[in-house]
Structures are given as C-alpha cells and as structure tokens.
C-alpha cells in the first residue's frame, strides 16, 4: 500500500493486456450476489436490517473491492 510502485518487473509491452489471470477474480462479484442461499434469511439483523438486505448491500463493497484490485493489478505500468 505504502510503496506506490514496487519494483515491478519491466513488463513486456504486451499485446494481450486483457489476458491477465487477475481478470478471473471478476467472476466472484458476478457469481456470489446470484446465490440466494447466502442472503435469503432474516437473522442476524444488523442495525435492524435483516440479512437479506444488509448482506446484499455489502456485496456492493465486494464488487468495488474486486474491480479495484483487478484494475490495480492489470493497469499499464511505467507510463506509455
């Protein structure tokens, strides 16, 4: 986190920038919110919200976290 740019190996100016294995992580926020077994229940309640509601709202953070991570790991390094 602190080091802005770790000694990244001089990445080859790749053509296939989309083919990073990090992209597979993006399937987590696509699949997890679509499994009702996780969230279809009332307890535990958080601030009065049944699990159905707070957990699905929390999945938004899962989506944000994953896309941010993948973006950071796949973005072009070292300027253009």
């Amino acid at each position: 986190m602190a080091a802005p740019e770790p000694e990244a190996p001089p990445t080859v100016p790749t053509r296939a920038k989309d083919h990073s294995p990090w992209n597979w992580l993006l399937f987590i926020p696509i699949v997890v919110p679509l499994i009702p077994a996780f969230f279809n229940g009332d307890s535990p309640r958080v601030f009065g919200f049944p699990r159905f509601y707070w957990l699905q709202l929390a999945f938004i953070l899962l989506g944000v976290g994953t896309t941010t991570l993948v973006y950071q790991m796949t973005k072009k390094r070292g300027g253009r």
Partner: protein, 550 residues
C-alpha cells in the same frame, strides 16, 4: 389541489429551469472546433474523463423510472423488488471485462454504435440492421417511461387536469425544452446536467435514509411493519420481506438477465464510448457502484412508505391505484414542502438525463446503420450529425405520443419486452467481442428464434389483473415441469438464441457457406488512447465544410 403544493411547484420549476439553461450552455462546454460531426454531437468528442463519465453513466443507467418503479415494486411485492441491487452489482464486472473491448475496437475503427461493430466484425449489413432495429425498438419505450417518472411527481403535486391535453401539457413542455437543447448540444447536454441530477439525488436520498427511519421508529420497525403488511395480505403468495422457494430462481435470473440487457442497451454503450480511454472506464467500474448503494436505499423507501401508511394515488382507471406514486407521496407527507420540491426536481431532472442519452443513442443507430447504410451511402460527417439531430427530435415526439395517446401501461409492457429483446443481441455484440466463431447467418437465425420464443413466453405470463404480458416471471410448469417455480423470460430466450445460432453455425460450416471477412484484428480489442494505428477512416477525411445539398 395544486395550490396546496405551491412551494413544491416553485422549487421544482426553478431547478428545472436552471438545468434547462445548462442544457443550452452545454454546447459551448469543452467546445470542439467543428460540432458538425457525429463524434462530437453524438459522443461528446469521445473525450470524457473520469468524473464526467461517472456522472454521465450514473445519470444514464439509474433513470427516473428506476427511482420511482423500484420502490414501488418493493412497496407492492417486497424482497422481489430488491433484485435491483444484485442486478447493479453484477453489471460492473461484466462491463469491465466486455465493454472495454468494445471501446477499444470502436476507438480504433471509429464505430459509433454496437451495430457498426457487428457490421464490420461479421461483414453483414443485415445482422447490423437487426441489431440497430432491436436497439431502437427497445429504447423507445424506455424513453416514454421516463415521462411516467415525471408524471408520478406532477400528479403528487396536484398538477393534473380533466382533459388528456391539460394533464399532459407540463410533460409536453418539459420534453420540448429537452428536445431543443439535445438538438443543439448533443451528448454534452446530459453530461453537464448529470452533475446537478446526481448531486440532488444523493442529497435527497441521504437525508431520507437518515431522517425518515428516526421518524418511523428505526430500521427494525420499518422492516417489521412491512412484514406485517405482507402477512396480512394473503392474496399474493410471492410477497414478503424474504424470498420463498418459488421465486428465488426468478430473482437470480432476473438480476442476471437485466444486467446483461442493461449493458447491451444503446444508451449504456453510448455512455461508455464517450469516455476518453480504457482507464477511465475501468476506474469507473469501481466507482459507479456508489449509485447501487443509493439505489438499494431508494428501494427501501418502499418499506418506509408502508411503515408510514402511504396510500398510493388512484390510477388512470377507476378502482386502480398507481403504485408509482408511493415515493412522491411519502416525500410529500414526511418532508417540509421546500425539500419535497427538491426531491421532486431530482426525480424530474433524473428523467431528462437518460431520456436525452437514449434519444441520442437511438438517433445514432438510425443514422449510422439505416440512413448511411441504406439511404445515403456517401453521407458526409456533417450530414450524419444533422440526420442524427433531427432523428433525436422524432424519437422524443414519438415517446411523448406514446404517453399522451396510449395507456402508460402500454409503455411499461413495452419496456418489459425491451429488456427481453435487447438480450437477443448478446450473441452478436457481446460474444462477438470475444469470438468470430458464430456464422453471420447463424446469428440471424438465432436472433429470430430467441425473439419469437421471448414474445411467446411474455404473452403467456398472466398476473392477477391481466391475462397476457403480466410480467417477466414465466412459470416453468408451462414447459411441462412439475413445479411452481418461475424464471425470467429473457434468460430462456437468449439461451435458445445461442443454441440455435450454434447449431446453424455448425450446419453452415459443414456446407461451407461463405462467412465474410472480419474487418477487425485481434489487436484492435486492446487499442487505447493515442494508439498510433487509429485509422482516420473515410469519415474523418471527408471535407467538413461541405454543405448538404438542399
């Protein structure tokens, strides 16, 4: 009576006029040297950076209808209405993976619409025409629905009349203003207005979700009140604050299918193509879910309306109620007049941004894939921009006509159909970005099959009040399964579409039918801003000064 709502009406009108002025001024905002080019009018010069894109796409995807209809659904059916949350979570990783490729290939080749891409990729003007027509047909009722959002607000403020004309006059005026500044400023107008719209929405919703629960005894008692209401009304077995065994499949397929549909809609693609580079899009996919949080909270306004005993206003027909008015009525009951006015303005302006982008997207499809393809092959960029501007006017007149002359229910039905039919472009547009395996004729046949099946299924869906087009939840028992589960029509239709496309592709390949030439290269899908290989193309070379011959 409207006199009781005078403060609200004044605040609403002032804010509405303010954004109208902004719409006209937008023509000079980030002004290009030459506005008479479709890239400028229709895509804002393809130059929008992170912030503008965030407001623009946010203002584009989360429409006034969403703000009114989602809580209305939660008010009426409970947990089912919350599908909007997983729906808008799932879409962003999809865009991150798929639409970034569309941006690159469009940037490289100067594509303005998804149909432009399909034409070049599969070498098939017919397939491109299908994609374009699908897009236009799916978008039109969506624009009309924005008017339903404004109408719900106007109705609550008591701005109604006896005759159809008097009732619709405010909407006609609002849309005339919208049409005028969209004509003049193109995509820059909604981009600039989106700042105001989204700021107002954020303020209103944050105030609502902090203040209202305190007045209503906390979140716990809001949910309990909703649960009590759903228990008391036993006539609908599928309502409740949780899902039951029968509607879980519908919930999941509806969320996933809607996400797939949303990013195929021409207006979403227009918003994405207007951004400056790949990084802007990718960063936005992390930032846009902020809107999903707001949407989730807006959905819960439906429960707050239950807890505070809101009675929706009567509908157009005797004895019906218009559930779309629950949120405006809730604001009217709970907020001081001036703040209710601000909230109404947020919804009203919230209708203008998507309506403008949608009409631009539909106009671009017409210009690029019908006018230029079939009517005037050698159209100059200036002529293209001109045709698009005029088409955007026609599209809006059509949307207003839909609302004034037809039952609004008809637009709601059409929008339901719209989601299903736009999904049928998935194999050509979204999968086409990854593979050219499908044969162009296979894609056409698959489209026909998916479209036919989707229409038939929607026709079969009954609701308590109607025999046909009663919703998108198709009972699996109709297929002969021994179950009471339901599934979203669009998912089934697109699965059949894909299967048919694959089978026809195999058959055509065995018969060695001509496949056409791919106009794109694998590298194009990674091109970024400043790519040296960007082909200026005949469009860019054309003399911008050439005037259309009258």
């Amino acid at each position: 009576m409207w006199r009781d709502h005078l403060t609200e009406i004044i605040v609403f009108s002032v804010l509405f006029l303010l954004v109208s002025v902004m719409g006209f001024v937008a023509a000079r905002w980030r002004a290009p040297k030459d506005m008479a080019h479709l890239d400028e009018w229709g895509l804002g010069g393809r130059s929008f950076g992170g912030w503008i894109t965030w407001f623009l796409i946010g203002g584009d995807l989360y429409t006034a209808y969403t703000f009114v209809a989602v809580p209305a659904l939660v008010f009426g059916a409970g947990a089912m209405g919350f599908f909007a949350v997983p729906y808008t979570i799932v879409i962003y990783p999809l865009v991150f993976l798929v639409l970034v490729r569309l941006w690159s290939v469009s940037h490289r080749h100067g594509f303005v619409t998804p149909a432009d891409f399909v034409r070049s990729r599969f070498d098939s003007p017919v397939l491109a025409l299908l994609v374009a027509v699908t897009g236009i047909v799916a978008t039109m009722p969506y624009i009309a629905l924005q008017l339903v959002g404004i109408e719900a607000v106007l109705k609550t403020m008591g701005v109604t009349g006896e005759s159809a004309l008097a009732r619709h006059l405010p909407i006609i005026i609002a849309f005339a203003i919208l049409a005028a500044y969209t004509y003049q400023s193109g995509l820059r107008a909604p981009a600039l207005i989106a700042f105001v719209k989204d700021s107002l929405i954020y303020v209103v919703i944050l105030v609502a979700v902090i203040w209202l629960p305190q007045k209503l005894g906390g979140w716990g008692s809001i949910f309990d009140a909703a649960e009590a209401k759903f228990q008391a009304t036993a006539q609908n077995p599928n309502d409740g604050i949780l899902l039951n065994a029968n509607n879980q499949l519908q919930y999941v397929t509806l969320a996933f299918g809607s996400a797939l549909a949303l990013f195929l809609y021409p207006h979403s693609i227009t918003g994405v193509l207007a951004s400056r580079n790949r990084d802007v899009i990718k960063r936005n996919m992390s930032a846009l879910p902020a809107y999903s949080l707001i949407l989730g909270l807006i959905a819960l306004l439906g429960y707050m309306a239950i807890a505070s005993g809101v009675k929706p206003l009567p509908g157009t027909k005797e004895g019906t109620v218009d559930n779309n008015t629950v949120v405006p009525v809730l604001f009217d009951q709970q907020f001081p007049d001036w703040f209710a006015g601000v909230a109404y303005a947020a919804i009203g302006i919230g209708a203008l941004v998507p309506a403008a982008i949608m009409s631009i997207a539909a106009a671009n499809l017409f210009t690029r894939n019908i006018y230029k393809e079939y009517l005037k092959r050698d159209a100059s960029p200036a002529q293209e921009a001109n045709v698009s501007k005029i088409t955007s006017l026609v599209v809006k007149v059509g949307a207003v006509a839909c609302i004034v002359f037809l039952d609004p229910q008809f637009s709601i039905d059409l929008q339901l159909i719209g989601g299903v039919i736009i999904l049928q472009t998935l194999p050509a547009v979204a999968l086409g970005l990854y593979t050219r395996w499908f044969h162009r004729t296979g894609l056409i046949v698959g489209w026909v099959a998916g479209m036919g099946l989707g229409m038939w299924m929607l026709y079969q869906v009954a609701s308590p009040t109607r025999k046909h087009f009663g919703g998108s939840a198709f009972p699996l028992s109709e297929f002969g399964f021994d179950t009471t589960k339901t599934i979203y029509v669009g998912i089934v239709a697109v699965a059949v579409n894909l299967a048919v496309a694959a089978l026809v592709t195999l058959a055509l390949r065995a018969a060695k039918v001509e496949e056409g030439v791919d106009g794109t290269e694998p590298d194009d899908y990674f091109a970024d801003e400043g790519d040296p290989r960007i082909t200026p193309g005949p469009d860019r070379d054309a003399d911008p000064a050439r005037e259309p011959v009258a």
